[in-house]
């Protein structure tokens, strides 16, 4: 040993350093600066993830209030609570907010918070990019909502079909705000997708080979790849739209060689995978919650992973089933019928595996499990009505009717929001250190489940008896009155369910029962650290020996005694990189410090995007502050890192 290796200068994780000392040093290295500055410059994936959760949930509530407004308008025939102009803005904002500002960001939020914990690393890959993505997302969301409040809200549907959304039929700036909001949220989503892919590929704890990756992480990984391949389509199409509107290009002008259906192809090439981008992470919630409460490992791990791949792959081959009514050749349409129905096979396999896990388990019906059971009941119904929609003749009748509205709410609320609420109850203790009330949770589930079915089941029938979507009013005497009233009543109950949840969170944040590290006795790594986790996630990087590391510990080791590796620096932010397939330790890389530059860059991007709504030159002059921001971001800090401490 050299002279300098007394404990004072050992700056590595290892047996030589006591636990308390290790934690203290890690806390110092990974700390976020205090105060407002720290709040603006943090790159901690847990803080950013929490912000994403809170922001996305806020948008969920806002969009839900819009839905209530619509249900009030449609409670009876020929009501005049809302003008058609206002109604059109409201249903557009509802769909846009739910899809772009709630569903996808919420799923990303859970990925940002949980994936690094579940794979056993100290931070997400590219944490500054992560902070940047949040600011960009926030700016896009605020921009859209301020526009809406100022009566510049988009009014052409979340799908913005041209030519209605084009320059001739949508004067003013309403649609431009929509198109730029898409750009904002897609930039954010693409950034997060890259972070998740790299985190999962390179930062898994030693021993977490491909066959030990938690199913939630698999779900997020497949989702991230879908984002990478799907989101560019909507960025290309929304850019074309805004160029048609602002600088006179002719992509969608049939008189000059453009075509309105080009928009639909591009939009649905994104729009259909989008459904799976929302659904696959939710299957990850289910696959996390079920084993914990059934008290047995998930049945059919391999089948579930393959089902994720199959869904992700098939998801790109179905977009034309949104266009069956456009007069495309029927033979081609039949191919898309087959592909759309084929996706029932992986979905069916997933459902079977989940029910089988429950069947062979010893279930404990806590609130998360209630929501998972609600998910199966509701989502399967939505999946089956999806099979009806895949059929060309049936689709020709129910397309663009309330049947479709019912279908996709069963699929999206059933398939994503039910698991999401389960996930809130499941991980809330990890996020906050406190439990949500189980008693209120049961009420929350009951109101939500009953309200949901009451609100949306009647819509199936409404669609079949002729009620089209996106109407601000309907005539009396066609036979739609009672069912609409019923749906409105259901919507109110549903809203009460959400309010119950908000109340539960509000109360539990202060008065909830203290959770401890692993209140549910779960098996994955996020439960192997304190609740909430420290800034550096784990005192030592654990070694993984099974799919549920906390359940399959080597003989003789108690739950907290995971085998760990030493040798990482504790005086600086350092990550362990492992190999892609086997997760063998390979490299120690530094992780960036907090920085204000991601926020400044996001502000520059915001100025550029919003400016470009009003003049194309904003792209040119807006690039200058953006370049400054990016250079500041990537410029290495000085002085360079302190030299490596040496230990024999």
């Amino acid at each position: 040993m050299t002279a300098g290796t007394d404990t004072a200068v050992v700056r590595r994780d290892g047996p030589g350093l006591g636990e308390a000392e290790t934690n203290a040093r890690l806390a110092r290295s990974w700390a976020t600066p205090p105060g407002l500055w720290g709040w603006l410059s943090t790159v901690d994936h847990k803080q950013v993830g929490r912000r994403y959760v809170v922001t996305a949930f806020t948008f969920f509530v806002l969009a839900g209030l819009l839905a209530l407004a619509m249900r009030m308008q449609l409670a009876g025939p020929e009501r005049t609570l809302l003008s058609p102009d206002r109604y059109n803005q409201i249903f557009t904002m509802h769909g846009t907010t739910m899809m772009f500002l709630f569903a996808v960001p919420m799923m990303e939020a859970f990925a940002i918070y949980l994936v690094p914990l579940m794979v056993g690393t100290r931070a997400i890959a590219f944490p500054r990019l992560n902070a940047f993505s949040y600011w960009v997302y926030l700016a896009g969301g605020i921009m859209l909502w301020v526009a809406f409040i100022l009566n510049v809200g988009p009014d052409v549907g979340w799908f913005s079909y041209v030519p209605l959304a084009g320059p001739q039929y949508s004067p003013g700036k309403r649609v431009d705000f929509w198109a730029q909001m898409v750009t904002f949220t897609e930039v954010a989503a693409l950034a997060v997708a890259v972070e998740i892919i790299v985190t999962v590929f390179k930062q898994r704890a030693p021993g977490m080979s491909l066959n030990r990756i938690p199913l939630f992480v698999w779900g997020q990984l497949v989702t991230s790849f879908m984002v990478v391949f799907a989101m560019p389509a909507v960025m290309v199409s929304s850019s074309m739209l805004i160029m048609d509107r602002l600088i006179g290009t002719h992509f969608f002008n049939p008189a000059e060689g453009g075509d309105a259906l080009l928009w639909q192809h591009l939009f649905w090439f994104f729009g259909h995978p989008e459904v799976y981008i929302i659904f696959l992470p939710a299957t990850g919630f289910v696959s996390s919650i079920l084993p914990t409460f059934a008290r047995r490992p998930i049945f059919g791990y391999t089948a579930l992973v393959l089902a994720l791949f199959a869904t992700g792959f098939l998801g790109f081959g179905l977009w034309v089933h949104h266009m069956f009514a456009t007069g495309l050749p029927h033979l081609g349409n039949s191919f898309y019928t087959a592909a759309s129905m084929a996706i029932a096979i992986p979905s069916g396999i997933q459902i079977f595996c989940w029910i089988a896990t429950l069947w062979d388990g010893r279930p404990r019906f806590a609130t998360p499990l209630l929501f998972v059971i609600g998910f199966i009941v509701v989502f399967v119904l939505g999946g089956l009505s999806g099979i009806m929609l895949a059929s060309v003749p049936l689709d020709s009748q129910v397309h663009d009717t309330y049947f479709v509205v019912a279908h996709f709410h069963y699929v999206l609320i059933g398939g994503a929001v039910f698991p999401l609420f389960g996930a809130f109850y499941y991980w809330f203790p990890k996020f906050t250190g406190r439990m949500l009330s189980e008693r209120v949770g049961a009420w929350n589930f009951g109101l939500f489940f009953v309200g949901f079915n009451l609100a949306f089941f009647p819509m199936h029938i409404l669609g079949l008896i002729g009620m089209p979507r996106r109407v601000y009013s309907y005539p009396a005497g066609v036979g739609w009155d009672e069912l609409n009233l019923l749906a409105t009543a259901g919507a109110v109950i549903l809203a009460a369910g959400v309010a119950t949840f908000v109340g539960n969170v509000w109360h539990s944040l202060k008065h909830g029962v203290s959770a401890g590290d692993n209140p549910w006795g779960a098996g994955t790594l996020e439960w192997a650290t304190s609740s909430p986790p420290p800034s550096y996630n784990f005192t030592h990087i654990p070694v993984v020996t099974g799919q549920e590391p906390l359940w399959t510990l080597p003989q003789g080791l108690p739950a907290q005694g995971l085998p760990v590796v030493g040798g990482l620096r504790v005086d600086q932010r350092e990550l362990l990189l492992t190999t892609v397939v086997d997760a063998d330790p390979d490299l120690r890389e530094p992780s960036p410090e907090p920085s204000i530059w991601p926020l400044l860059s996001a502000l520059a991007v915001t100025a550029l995007f919003i400016g470009s709504i009003f003049t194309p030159w904003a792209v040119v002059w807006g690039a200058i502050p953006l370049a400054v921001g990016l250079i500041g971001w990537f410029w290495p800090k000085s002085p360079p890192d302190t030299p490596e401490p040496v230990i024999d």
Binding site: V146, L150, N151, G166, P171, G172, K173, R245, H250
Partner: protein, 188 residues
């Protein structure tokens, strides 16, 4: 998290940016109420032709409103204004996208011209085109020479590309308002 504080700040900033939007984006299908003084003041006759009238209350309501200008563009096509004025470049009738205005280039002037008709071929549309639509057409005609705010002017149409869209038109300051009055003969 002090998210309320943050939201408030961002909200205020954006509100300042887009505060002008409210009027521009309003879609009032009944038309903005224009005081009687508007058209009456101009219908004094061609004596005042060329004199820019003081901007009335209608200015902002129609000229600054994307929906009304766009409606005006549609009516311009529907009512066959292009038969004489082409796409604004002029044919039998005078061009509408330059800086020359025989009978004045303000919104009120154009409104009066449409209602009253003018010698040498411009018919009177009084009683044929409802008041509100006349204002809309007048506002659109102003946009042809870039007189309306760019953010409210129409983009390209879904039709053959005959000329750059109105929102990219260079602004032509009306010139036909010199004290000497318009040169009516010059047009004949």
């Amino acid at each position: 998290m002090s998210s309320p504080c943050r939201s408030a700040v961002s909200l205020a900033a954006l509100a300042v940016l887009t505060v002008a939007a409210c009027d521009r984006e309003e879609r009032e299908p009944r038309g903005a109420p224009v005081g009687d003084s508007g058209p009456a003041a101009i219908t004094q006759g061609t004596l005042y032709a060329g004199q820019p009238s003081p901007p009335g209350p209608s200015h902002r309501e129609y000229e600054g409103n994307a929906y009304h200008i766009s409606q005006g563009k549609q009516l311009y096509v529907w009512f066959n204004c292009g038969t004489c004025h082409a796409n604004g470049g002029g044919d039998i009738g005078p061009p509408l996208m330059d800086d020359q205005w025989i009978y004045g280039g303000t919104l009120e002037n154009i409104h009066a011209t449409i209602l009253q008709g003018r010698p040498n071929g411009m018919p009177s549309f009084r009683g044929k085109i409802p008041e509100q639509q006349v204002w809309e057409i007048a506002a659109y005609v102003r946009s042809l020479s870039g007189q309306t705010p760019k953010a409210a002017s129409p983009g390209r149409s879904d039709s053959l590309n005959a000329k750059p869209d109105e929102q990219r038109m260079p602004r032509e300051e009306p010139k036909g308002s010199s004290p000497g009055g318009p040169n009516l003969e010059g047009r004949q």
